[in-house]
C-alpha cells in the first residue's frame, strides 16, 4: 500500500510550458489538496477537492488548474509556467471533513527557468 504518491519528484521546465504534476492516493480518501511551499511563506493551499468532480480554489490558485475525474487522482497543471511558480509542491489527502488529519505526499520540486 503506497499511500499517497507524487510524480515526478523533480522537474525542470521553461517559462511558458505546460506542466502537470500528478498525485495518487490509495486510501480512497475523499479530500485531496495541493500546496506549494516557499521560503518565508510556509505552505499555501492552491486548490482542494472534496470528492471526484468537485474542486475549489484555495489561497493561491492563479496560474493553476486541477481536475478530479477519479477519487484516487488529483493532477495539478501549470498551463503556462512562470518563474514565480518555482517551488516545492505537496499533495495531501484526508478521509473526511473538518477534523480529519491530512496526510502528505513526498513533494515535487519544480524549477521553472
Amino acid at each position: 500500500d503506497a499511500g499517497i504518491t507524487q510524480s515526478p519528484r523533480y522537474k525542470i521546465t521553461e517559462t511558458g510550458r505546460q506542466v502537470t504534476l500528478m498525485c495518487h492516493q490509495t486510501w480512497s480518501h475523499s479530500y485531496m489538496f495541493w500546496y506549494r511551499q516557499d521560503l518565508g511563506h510556509g505552505l499555501r493551499l492552491i486548490y482542494y477537492s472534496a470528492a471526484a468532480d468537485i474542486t475549489d480554489k484555495g489561497e493561491v490558485p492563479d496560474g493553476y488548474v486541477v481536475s478530479r475525474s477519479k477519487t484516487e487522482n488529483f493532477p495539478l497543471t501549470l498551463e503556462s509556467a512562470t518563474r514565480s511558480q518555482t517551488s516545492v509542491y505537496f499533495c495531501a489527502s484526508s478521509l473526511g471533513t473538518s477534523w480529519e488529519t491530512q496526510y502528505f505526499g513526498p513533494g515535487t520540486r519544480l524549477l521553472v527557468l
Binding site: 482542494y48 472534496a50 502528505f104
Partner: protein, 114 residues
C-alpha cells in the same frame, strides 16, 4: 483571514533535553483544529500532534505534548527527551472545519545537538 505565526525561525537543543516551540494564531472562529507537522530533510510532511479547539485537555503523543491556550490563541509544542531524529522543520497549522481553510506558519528549524 486566519494567520499562524511562528516567531522562532531556528532553535537548537541538546540531545535528551526538552525544547518548546511557540505558535500563535489569529482567528475569530470558535471551533477549529490545530496541528504540528514535522518536515525532516527528506521533505516529507509528517503529522506530529493535533488538537481540537473544543477540548480543554492538552494533546500528548509520546514525547510530544502541546500547551493549548485558547484565550491567548497560543499553541506551543514541547518535545521531551530530544533525539537526533527530531532534527527537522516544524510547522504549526490551523484548520477551520470544511477543509479549505488550512493555514501553515513559516516554520521553526530545530536542530538536536549530540
Amino acid at each position: 483571514a486566519q494567520t499562524v505565526t511562528q516567531s522562532q525561525p531556528e532553535m537548537s537543543v541538546q540531545e535528551a533535553e526538552t525544547v518548546t516551540l511557540s505558535c500563535t494564531y489569529d482567528t475569530s472562529e470558535n471551533n477549529y483544529y490545530l496541528f504540528w507537522y514535522k518536515q525532516p530533510p527528506s521533505r516529507q510532511m509528517i503529522l506530529v500532534i493535533r488538537q481540537e479547539a473544543y477540548k480543554q485537555q492538552n494533546a500528548t503523543e509520546n514525547r510530544f505534548s502541546v500547551n493549548f491556550q485558547k484565550a491567548a490563541k497560543s499553541f506551543s509544542l514541547k518535545i521531551s527527551d530530544s533525539q537526533l531524529g527530531d532534527t527537522a522543520m516544524y510547522f504549526c497549522a490551523f484548520m477551520k472545519p470544511g477543509g479549505n481553510q488550512f493555514y501553515f506558519g513559516t516554520g521553526t528549524s530545530l536542530t538536536v545537538i549530540p
